[in-house]
Amino acid sequence: MAVDQDLKIELGKQGVFITTLQELYNWGRRNSVWPMQFGLACCAIEMIATTMARYDLARFGAEVFRPSPRQADMMIISGTVTKKMAPQVVRLYNQMAEPRYVIAMGACAISGGPFKQGYNVLKGIDRYIPVDVHIPGCPPRPEALLQAFITLQKKIDAQPLTGPGRPRFLDAAAQGEFPVPVPGEHDLEPAFNQGVWPLPVLQPGKKD
């Protein structure tokens, strides 16, 4: 960590390679993020295109889509999350082993999108589970998903192994299981998880 970048390069030229445990650890983690194989709506088509030869998500080490949450590291919420589906999505997230990351892909997954005012669509999956990267778009281009993935890799790379800001799985006190909402008589109960989604404060002085 305290190694000077120029010194590292200079040493490398001399045939001496030095690194830190954190760098090595995060390098390994960020280059083998396996996504979970599931799609929710039309954004899933773009996600599939991203994994195929033309856009080739495999270049970044995310080629193995796992059909089980036990083996997956990343969840791509690709599409509309209906209120009927939301408990299952949260349950799948709970079943994933740490380290786990979430990309909310598309307008629906981040906010409800064109269905926001509907009675049946969740207004963003970040109401129940922590989301690392949000991608707007309807649907986002495969390049946008790649960009989101690279952003996630940068985030993993920057995570320290100790101290504040360390990943959840290295923090004994961190929340591991997220409450699954219950389908109630009129709406999901609760409507959002206060711990994950503290009600965003609207800009003061803004006309509304």
Binding site: K84, Y119, N120, E185, H186, D187, A191, L202, D208
Partner: protein, 230 residues
Amino acid sequence: MKTIEEIKAAIEAAVPGAGVEVVVNPSPCAQHSLRLDPDSALAVARFLRDDPELALDFLSNVTGVDWPDREISEKVKVARTVAKTVDGVEQQVEETVDEIRKRVEPGCLEAVYHLYSVVRKHGPVVIRMRTGNRTDRVELPSLTPVWRSGEFQEREIFDLFGIVFNGHPDLRRILMWDNFKDHPMRRDYVEPDDYEYEPTAHDAVLAKAQAHRAAAQAGAKGQEGAGAAQ
């Protein structure tokens, strides 16, 4: 293909006592439909499918309509006797006045079926059925035993409008979850108040978001007051 009146006549000839009524569509498309009496609808549906000349073997679409209670105000001319002073003499005079009378026409729920014939290559024939009211008499005969393709669509109407189809093989909610209580496509559906975060609200949504915020502030103040009292 037969005209709607001819179909009505054919139904009445084939199914004695069938209540059939032509619903005229005044728009240029002139797609008239038949309103069936729910009691005889199943027999009529079987006739429409099995009659060699109509052979409506394909149920393309089933949908629902919600007709809420409607207040009708109409002007009526009423004759009444009033005491008036004419030329200094008090006498009874008959006069006619306009009076506005209001009555409430009870609402109902309606199921609409679009039928085609694949064999004869004609259609659509539109048939409708109405429930007794919108609250407790919401039962209609299911036409799924006649056209199997109606199964999911009748389930959807049951889910979103609340029409109960008697004789349906598997009448459960299809889109909303099982213990959901409302019928979202009804005109008087009250949506859950989840307008806590509307960063770019405008028009109707803005009004709802403001109402939500006012209610939340009033609730917070009420709680503070209760805390201070304790």
